[in-house]
């Protein structure tokens, strides 16, 4: 067993680390959370007397205080194992670093806040179902915050103060908040995992969860879905879709042999193309029939107009067609942005398409903002189409109650679809 542990040589041991107890707890943890076995076994145990309880570093070493193991029952130790490994699986140190850099946060107090927020993210669904909750586990409830959110969301919603005083001892190590600790062995120390090995372990765990959906809690399934394919904020996706539609060939800035180039005079005998600019015409069709909230619709519309301006579109080349009688949201928005507004009326998106295409000159890009509860045109329109689809689980459920046989059509193949969710993924 000595091959498996490194003793912190700075302090001489009055009571040795009870490895059997520690490993019995790990065995219990593996039995109740089989999908985490790879990660739990990959952790390398380092005995340390400077750690208050148990802590991890970003190289997947787990520092353990012998006194803590001696005073904690096996069932609670198992919970601590799973908790610590969750920090590493969820990349809390990397996310803390990114958060700190993006917001210019420094100092140990901020890192403590990150540790608390990371604990909240983990603890709301990691315990139960055979795994006991350790006595001192911090949950979002302690801070008066709702469960089920991400670390970054919690970080925006609480500050350190008297009510967090009791949490000041909390220390899950540099693996939880990114701040190097004095006991850390560092990147050159023994038994660390390289970046690729860390990814491989996380990948195996995610694969294990995806292979047997239902065996892992919902929070872990979400993690497994997103671990290696992070969801991108819809703004960026919508931006990319509209940009690529509006700057495709035939639209925007491009070369033409139709007119002689300015360089031609200097190069007799050489045939040169000239640069020509044709700003894209963008038609935005807004389906206001759904339960789309004003602010979401407003930000989506603003996003589309900002992007089409960035690709060279002029104000008069963007038009908006509200596709419902209730156009009172769209009108002030368009007036404020100086966008010409086409008349409302009609709840069928097909009439919206028809109207956008009837209008001459024809648009280069049609952007549809809808909740998808609509029939779509049968044939591909003669221009690029981008669909911003508002995620409305609740509205589709209520419609299904009205008419159980009603299944809304999925957006057609020829459109590029971007899901617009209520919040953007933080991972």
């Amino acid at each position: 067993m000595t091959a498996h542990t490194v003793t912190d040589s700075a302090v001489d041991a009055p009571g040795a680390l009870d490895l059997d107890k520690l490993f019995a707890a790990r065995l219990h943890a593996v039995r109740v959370r089989p999908f985490m076995a790879t990660a739990l076994f990959a952790l390398h145990v380092v005995e340390s007397r400077r750690v208050p309880t148990m802590a991890v570093d970003r190289h997947w070493r787990c520092y353990v205080s012998p006194a803590f193991v001696a005073r904690t029952p096996v069932k609670e130790l198992a919970g601590v194992w799973v908790h610590e490994v969750s920090h590493l699986l969820r990349d809390h140190h990397g996310r803390s670093d990114r958060f700190a850099r993006a917001r210019g946060l420094t100092g140990p107090a901020e890192r403590l806040r990150m540790n608390i927020a990371a604990d909240c993210e983990i603890n709301d669904d990691v315990f139960g179902e055979g795994l006991a909750r350790p006595r001192d586990a911090v949950g979002p409830g302690v801070l008066g915050l709702p469960a089920g959110e991400l670390m970054e969301e919690y970080l925006l919603r609480f500050r350190l103060g008297p009510h967090t005083q009791s949490l000041a001892w909390l220390d899950c190590g540099s693996g939880a908040d990114g701040l190097a600790r004095e006991w850390d062995l560092g990147p050159d120390g023994a038994h660390g995992l390289s970046a690729q090995e860390r990814d491989a372990v996380r990948f195996r765990v995610a694969q294990g969860i995806n292979a047997r959906p239902g065996s892992a809690p919902k929070g872990w399934q979400r993690w497994a879905d997103e671990a290696f394919h992070p969801t991108q904020p819809w703004r960026e996706l919508l931006g990319a879709a509209v940009r690529s539609a509006a700057s495709g060939s035939g639209v925007g800035e491009d070369y033409t042999y139709g007119r002689p180039s300015r360089r031609s005079a200097g190069l007799p005998g050489v045939v040169l193309p000239s640069l020509r600019r044709r700003p894209p015409r963008v038609a935005v069709i807004i389906d206001t029939s759904g339960s789309v909230s004003d602010s979401e619709l407003g930000s989506a519309l603003n996003e589309v107009t900002a992007i089409s301006r960035a690709v060279g579109g002029r104000r008069d080349l963007i038009s908006v067609l509200p596709c419902d009688a209730s156009a009172e949201i769209v009108h002030p928005l368009c007036r404020a942005a100086g966008i010409p507004l086409m008349g409302g009326g009609g709840t069928d998106l097909r009439t919206g398409f028809a109207r956008a295409l009837r209008k001459g000159p024809r648009p280069d890009v049609i952007v549809v903002l809808t909740d998808g509860q609509t029939p779509w045109p049968d044939s591909r329109p003669p221009c690029r189409t981008v669909v911003g689809l508002f995620d409305r689980e609740s509205s589709s459920r209520s419609r299904a109650e009205d008419d159980p046989d009603y299944v809304p059509d999925a957006p057609p193949e020829w459109a590029r679809v971007v899901s617009i969710g209520p919040s953007s993924g933080a991972r």
């Binding site: 019995a24 219990h28 055979g130 006991a132 038994h191 005998g269 050489v270 640069l275």
Partner: protein
Amino acid sequence: MTTHAPFAPTDAPTDASAKAPAPDSQLDVAGQLLALLRDTTTEPRPDNQLEALTLAVAADLPVLLWGEPGIGKTAALTQLAASLDLPLTTVIASVHEPSDFSGLPVVGDDPAAQGVPMAPPDWAVRLVRAGRGLLFLDELSTAPPAVQAALLRLVLERRIGALQLPPDVRIVAAANPRSSAADGWELSPPLANRFVHLQWTHDHEVVVRGLGGTWPVATLPRLDRERLAEAVGFARRAVCGLLSARAGLVHRLPSNETRRGGAWPSPRSWEMSLRLIAFATAAGSSRDVLSLLVRGTVGDGPGLELLASLDRMDLPDPETVLADPAGAALPERGDLRQAVLDGVVRAVRERPEKSRWDAAWAVLVRAMETGAPDLVVVPATTLASLRREEWDVPASIDRLAGAVSLSRRADRAAARTASVAKAGR
């Protein structure tokens, strides 16, 4: 003369004696200051990004560097060209016209009889004359679509007008990610599939140290002539091993908006991947470098699966372990050790024989004595269930008593947790 203020006009008569200690002109002083600023030292530092780029360039695959503007892509290319001893030609794509890459049509005397030749630009002619070089196509993503179309023919077919680039010319392109450029452009899936995508990021520490006067020099990988055949064999085994087990990974078009324009698996990109594994193996590169290359070629998911299967290839073969339980080298890392033990037990289950069963117990005892005891519990339970009636329990099983008590302890903890949960309800 020395008392003159720097910018005061010298209206003194210019006789020879006054000229002797001529004051430095302001430009000379500026030159000295610049020289001081340029006076930096270098330190060796491993750089995975640069190593991956070097291998991909050596493997003659088109590389696309994705990175925000101003983070040292050009500086990296300069270093790469110096170390490969290739002259560097940089072409900023966004300031060129499509005909600069597809050839300028020059109308001759009788186009109908002689055709219209497509004249290449001078840098291309020089490159062909030199016969070797590193061509860096910068700012691919901000060029108009027609220029991009012409450039892609250059990258993929290595042709500029009528000119064919010699095989010793290596091409690297750079692009800004679509979120950073307002008029960003994205690759269509067929084009994305032809590139090795490398994400170019800056290392905060390197930048700060560099501005402080110490820039890193990366030691670039050297291909080992002795290992070439072995590297090819290894790469073929790795890719074929994975793809024969996971047929679905061979071809998978990117389905959603997030993954468009990036790397995705297809027979072509797997072939590129195979080539890169062989190069990385021959160069003795680390798994981190290989990870960058493989994930940049076939995408994150399939790339990680390939790397995971490589890890399994590194593990000792169960049959070898069973043949010599005392001499078997069990991995130090818990999860890998567990995989080996599971493999050993599985091998016994597939071909149950008394001698193999005994050998497996010996392996477990060895694992118990050299590492964490909890790893042994599950394989031991499974192995015990494989026992045939006529088989005697080996004496060494007593040495697994620690694992049994550990298992009981975990059982008790589970029972207590369950009873507490029941009482809580």
